[in-house]
């Protein structure tokens, strides 16, 4: 990151800008929290793979397909509730006048991007599950269809984020789109109850918090949830830093262009 000021781009910045940029680079560069989240993500991912593939038993009926349980529900949870939940909350905090800050817009955008990635993984792993258990890669099941619709919605949200406008107008536009998109999340959640779906309802943990699978499977699944959460945190920090740098350099470019135009007049 620090090499930015040592490249040919360095000539584009004034001394004042360079000091500001150096401070931002220090803020967004390597940090303890980044290292901790990164290390945690890698350790939990390796442990999940090891336990999932070599320690936990296969299922009497589903065979090795059951091992998808250690990936599919954790990525679905991270997409639907963690990532999109954060986007919705951050969008509300932008729209609420007392908490309005561009920080929330950046957080919402970063989390939505990761959510889209996780949701695509949810559909891919779900499709593999479907092929082995239902015999088809895709079926017009309500849960699957609504999840695909949700993916398109958040892709549209990311497209809307790229539109031009003032920073304030863009952030408001983003926040409103995120709130509308969030209406689909509970519909996806309850779809297995409202429709007759092939997709099963929650079955690993009963409402009374009783585990219906062997402890080793439950623990591995729990580790999968922790892993996707840590990876989300790691990517959030990295993505937020990039957004911050983009905003700062964009503002500097604008200021430089205005000064250049003034000097020409």
């Amino acid at each position: 990151m620090t090499s930015l000021l040592e490249t040919e781009n360095a000539d584009n910045f004034s001394d004042k800008d360079k000091i500001l940029l150096e401070n931002i680079l220090k803020k967004t560069g390597p940090s303890r929290i980044k290292y901790a989240l990164g290390a945690g993500s890698i350790i939990t991912a390796v442990l999940t793979v090891w336990l999932g593939l070599f320690v936990t038993p296969n299922d009497e009926h589903l065979g090795d397909t059951v091992r998808l349980l250690y990936v599919h529900p954790p990525v679905a949870w991270a997409a639907l509730y963690l990532a999109f939940g954060t986007t919705t909350l951050a969008s509300l905090l932008w729209l609420w006048p007392k908490t309005r800050s561009f920080f929330w817009d950046k957080v919402a955008g970063a989390s939505a991007e990761i959510g889209v990635l996780y949701l695509a993984l949810t559909l891919i792993t779900g499709s593999i599950w479907g092929r082995t258990t239902w015999g088809v890669w895709w079926t017009w099941d309500a849960r699957l269809t609504l999840t695909a619709v949700l993916l398109v919605l958040y892709v549209a949200y990311l497209a809307i984020r790229q539109l031009d406008g003032t920073s304030k107008a863009k952030a408001t536009r983003n926040a409103i789109t995120a709130l509308f998109a969030a209406i689909d999340v509970p519909i996806v959640h309850f779809s297995v109850l409202w429709w007759n779906t092939l997709h099963q309802t929650a079955s690993v943990l009963t409402p009374g918090l009783h585990l219906t699978v062997p402890l080793s499977m439950g623990l591995t699944m729990g580790l999968g949830f922790l892993c996707t959460t840590l990876i989300w945190g790691w990517m959030m920090k990295a993505r937020y830093d990039i957004e911050l740098l983009k905003a700062v350099t964009g503002e500097m470019e604008s200021q430089r262009a205005i000064l250049q135009r003034r000097s020409e007049l």
Binding site: L146, L153, L163, I176, D184
Partner: protein, 224 residues
Amino acid sequence: MFRDGWAVASKDLKIEIRSRVLAMQVMPLTGAILIIFGFALGPDIGRLRQNASGLIWVSILLCSMLAVQRSIAIERECGGEFLKLTGYDLAGVFIGKVLAVAIEVFLIAIATIAITSVVFNTGLHGIMNILVLIAVTALASISLSSAGIIFGAMFISSDTAETLLPLIYLPLTSPVLLAATKASLPTFSGSGSIKLIWVGILFLLAVAYFSVGSISFEPLLEDY
């Protein structure tokens, strides 16, 4: 607020009655869509009846987008200010725009259902089912118009409004499409009984879209 809303709705509806775009262009379009579906599915009347509910709501959804675009075009012609300079309460402006589009969508739905009963030979089965269908159509109209007005206003000055509006509007309103199709299925097919859970879901969706639209409209216009 409600007086302002009624004034805005009356203005939009009067413009629509005078321009006759809804009657002369949008309503014939819904007929064209249904006939194309009929061609695509073939002459099997049983299959057409079975799928009538879904086809009707897809037609209504596509035509509702045109109603939204018409409503936004009226504001664009006036500079895209959404009557900000007239002193009208912005919440009232939102209610008025939504009400006008919802009435238009309701009329489109009636036309669509009437055309379907002729070309697909569906008919309407049961008084209770018809009453439920009216409620379903009203609730769906509110959801579609609330979401449509917000995103129409959002892209009013964008060069890519024609592509962006369908990109967000169609997936966003697909839960309304699914619930409305399920709720009106027995009315058109004549088999099975109405499950009121779908009407309940449509009610919740109408409340959610209208509420989010209400809290969004003012900041959307203020920050533009």
